[in-house]
Symmetry: C2
């Protein structure tokens, strides 16, 4: 059994990667038919029908860079990296969540891809190897160093993150990060580090954050998460015991929750022991999967 | 059923992440007892007993940066980012593979972690946001921009890569990359892009590289791969048909192989239709898993 359709996955665009490296084809697509995703900073602009708002390339500032998102219905879709964005880091905010809730599945995925790419370009203006400026290349799927001695190629970053349900005697280990809304608990999570497998990252994070040793780590499902550009890797593991030693620098709190408590929170109720993560988050789908399995 | 112990996973070191952010604890560990991994460029140095060779911090150049790898038996282990390495990119080479074959499992994992981190530091000397120099921070698990207006924090990169066995009527789709040794075929693979799940990345790559549509993508196992720092995510999928349209810019060749042909190659034989990937590669473990399932 796997998790169902998940927010930010399932874009309706054909990424058409063969066009990225074909300068003539790419230029040929950049005409009056091409669509430009409208963004308010990094947030989406929603049209009166509740869809993503699109303009044309004529709407782009003359000093903007353009990212090729892909093709839909024969039309090329682009997003703009405007100079106003440069260097910014914009966290997800309540207004953004409301806008995103309005979007249907494929549009949310297109927006997520655009946001992750535009944000990466805005924060990667210089070559990490030599410090010289870089320029957009391959339709925005690369940046290249302008220093002719260096010429380093840089690629959009995707950071793998493990997020895991840890189970012991039919109870689940959930935690509260300091940045969570009041009473929200969710699955523990952490970045995969150089030199470790997914399974090792899961075991290390649970040990670090909650002092719990796990066995039998298994994969459940994945999700792209554009804040700024993570790959969420949802897993399940069994705990070797229920004693907790919570790392208070990472978590405000962590505890075990019964099946009934999880089911109550997942029903949308806010009067139980905790409030469940929102449907856009893979943690929500992991909890649903656990209740149904 | 999952894949067995795999090269570069399973390091014997405790990463002791709480020490990374604790400057006093870190300084306290940097004494005469600390061990410094000996490296020849980015390659390992093997001692007469066939183990990784270690020195002390006194062996490090005065202008080197030190990366804290973790603890073993109460001793802190470090690796050196020497100025001589800066900006280098060193691909895996035959001499390196011979050296790595000599190492036992946990030592190979420690080496892989050290290599990925040292290589990242060598190629990330400047701030991608503002172009100013960066300095090592948190025991080498971060670099921080020296420009007081920027102060951007940069973290070691891990690039998720999908690698997949595609099956149709008990035959497997394997391909030959231009850089492979003669007659070597292996599983198709490609980087996960911003805005896609693992399952979507698998489907896109197989479509792009071989023209094949897949269904029912499932996860098999994962591996850290330190060339330079990938997370290999091994998957299985079913093809919807056997017609191929191979992208010759990505692959020299791709074709279907029977169970007998795969078993013959995996026995080590070199007189069959193809030569199997080496045991260090997750592709080898995926093929073994497929034969046994």
């Amino acid at each position: 059994m796997s998790i169902g359709p998940i927010a930010f996955a399932g874009a309706g665009l054909d990424r058409a990667d063969q066009i990225r490296s074909d300068a003539d084809a790419l230029t040929g697509l950049m005409d009056w038919r091409a669509r430009l995703l409208r963004l308010d900073g990094l947030d989406p602009v929603i049209d009166p029908d509740g869809n993503l708002a699109w303009g044309t390339l004529a709407d782009a500032a003359s000093d903007s860079e353009l990212v090729f998102l892909g093709l839909t219905g024969g039309k090329a879709c682009f997003a703009e990296v405007s100079p106003a964005l440069l260097g910014s880091v914009a966290p997800a905010n309540p207004r953004l969540w409301a806008a995103m809730s309005a979007l249907e599945h494929a549009e949310l995925a297109t927006y997520g891809t655009a946001r992750a790419l535009v944000d990466w370009h805005a924060r990667h203006r210089y070559c990490a190897r030599c410090g010289n400026p870089t320029v957009l290349a391959k339709g925005g799927w690369q940046r290249t160093c302008t220093n002719n001695v260096c010429k380093a190629e840089h690629f959009p970053r995707v950071d793998p993150v493990t997020i895991m349900l840890v189970e012991f005697e039919d109870q689940l280990l959930l935690g509260r990060q300091p940045r969570f809304p009041p009473r929200r608990f969710s699955a523990l999570a952490g970045f995969v580090e150089p030199g470790e497998s997914i399974e090792e990252a899961v075991a290390r994070e649970v040990k670090e954050e909650a002092g719990v040793t796990v066995r039998d780590v298994s994969y459940v499902g994945s999700q792209p998460w554009p804040f700024p550009s993570s790959l969420m890797i949802g897993c399940h593991a069994h705990a070797m015991g229920r004693d907790l030693e919570v790392d208070r620098t990472e978590l405000d709190e962590a505890d075990w929750f019964t099946r009934e408590e999880v089911a109550h929170a997942m029903s949308g109720a806010e009067d139980g022991r905790f409030i469940a993560p929102p449907p856009q988050a893979i943690a929500h789908h992991l909890l649903k999967w656990w209740l149904e399995k």
